[in-house]
Assembly symmetry: C2
Homo-oligomer: 230 residues x 2
DNA sequence: ATAGTTTGCTGATAAATATCAATGGTCAGA
DNA sequence: TCTGACCATTGATATTTATCAGCAAACTAT
């Protein structure tokens, strides 16, 4: 038995994104008719920066990373877990993806036709406001990340990344870090080696334990302090 | 004779933001009844991060900077010139400003009641789409800046900032840099001293001339190359 | 004009961070 | 079981960048 049953239709789907609570059954049915589900193995690319963007993706299983491909390095904008939508900013501008997405774990995504979405945004003001709110929340999150990456030193940035993983993504404290060390570095805007070294320092100072991919934050207060003092 | 006449009403205002082209005269009149204009002297704060956000601002004269206050340092998200709106992401989330704004030059701003705006977004789907497009463009711009600041070295970041000033803000090539060196540093995410030093290096290499606040990019091709090679 | 304040500039130094090179571990597939 | 590929780790080193201190220049307000 799977945790979610989402294959049949959108109305009964018990994993539906909270953005849909503003839609009527008829509107949900319209979404249902213009969607399909895709499975991705860990590591597979969901969409690529620069390509056309005919669908909004909703992650229904697994974990995805959103990243901008720079020069050699990648910058991870965030991770997306069930049941969250990826609302790329290109849809209302140039119909292109402005970042790439890849599956970190084995994942599934529901792909909804962009035009159906746009239609509902025009027709249903509550839905439109909810959409704008989602996009705004995304912006605010990006601002926080922006400040962290440009104004804090490496220790503070790793601290921020660890809180993000523990509090927002995995939502537990001893957590299995399904992302790689390179991904952690790409979230924190540093080299892989630096990320590993700082993890080791935190371990030596008794702030956390690291065993393979399992991380346990023992002293959140001290980690918080490191985050705040840069 | 002033360049813009915008004091009387919104319908005839020849400096109105292009976002208004989707509005009827009646809708513009509604905006007109729920706005007022304010003048700011250079250096004055227009609104402060964390405070309530009851208005959208449209810069009608001068130049404003949007910046996030970090620890000691500021991060400038962008500059806003006439006739552009500042659509802060807090309006649909928590009614708070998530960054501060200050006048760089003597400036004027038209302040429009947020609820009037929200009302029109609900009523006029074309206007709503235009609004979403503006917000999306802002996001895309921030992504570019994000990559520049986190993945490029100082020379590339200053190059990007110079192109931004020349191409987007002042829109001419020998341009008078009305922002301070500290502002240039805050745009580029580095210390003031570093920004000054790199400007000096570019000058010595014949890429540009700097006389006081007047900057002339002599070799845009080489500057572009510096921007691209990080 | 003059004192005081801010802004721009420079050099020396220290700190932060990346790069390079090498090694061991793990896992999938022949 | 072996082999290759990839990932994690570590140490040594080089590079990048910030900080600090001092000084000149420009602007403000007596």
């Amino acid at each position: 038995m799977t945790k979610f049953s989402h294959s049949l239709n959108c109305i009964d789907c018990n994993c539906k994104s909270i953005i849909f609570k503003k839609l009527t059954d008829a509107e949900l049915e319209l979404i249902n008719q213009n969607r399909f589900e895709v499975n991705f193995k860990a590591g597979e690319i969901m969409f690529k920066q620069g390509t056309p963007s005919p669908h909004f993706l909703c992650i229904t299983k697994g974990l995805a990373k959103l990243y901008i491909e720079g020069y050699g390095k990648n910058l991870i904008l965030g991770l997306v877990k069930p049941v969250e939508y990826i609302f790329g900013p290109g849809v209302y501008v140039d119909n292109r993806h402005h970042y790439s997405a890849a599956a970190v774990e084995d994942s599934s995504a529901c792909m909804v036709d962009v035009n159906t979405y746009k239609h509902l945004i025009r027709e249903n003001p509550d839905f439109a406001e909810e959409f704008i709110k989602r996009v705004s929340l995304q912006s605010i999150f990006n601002f926080d990340q922006f400040v962290s990456l440009t104004q804090k030193q490496m220790h503070g940035r790793i601290a921020d990344a660890l809180f993000y993983l523990s509090d927002v993504i995995y939502c537990k404290n001893p957590f299995d870090m399904t992302i790689s060390r390179q991904d952690l570095a790409d979230i924190s805007g540093m080299s892989k080696e630096s990320a590993i070294r700082i993890l080791k320092e935190f371990k030596e100072e008794g702030i956390l334990t690291v065993e393979g991919n399992n991380v346990h934050i023992l002293n959140p207060a001290q980690l918080k302090k490191i985050s705040e003092t840069g």
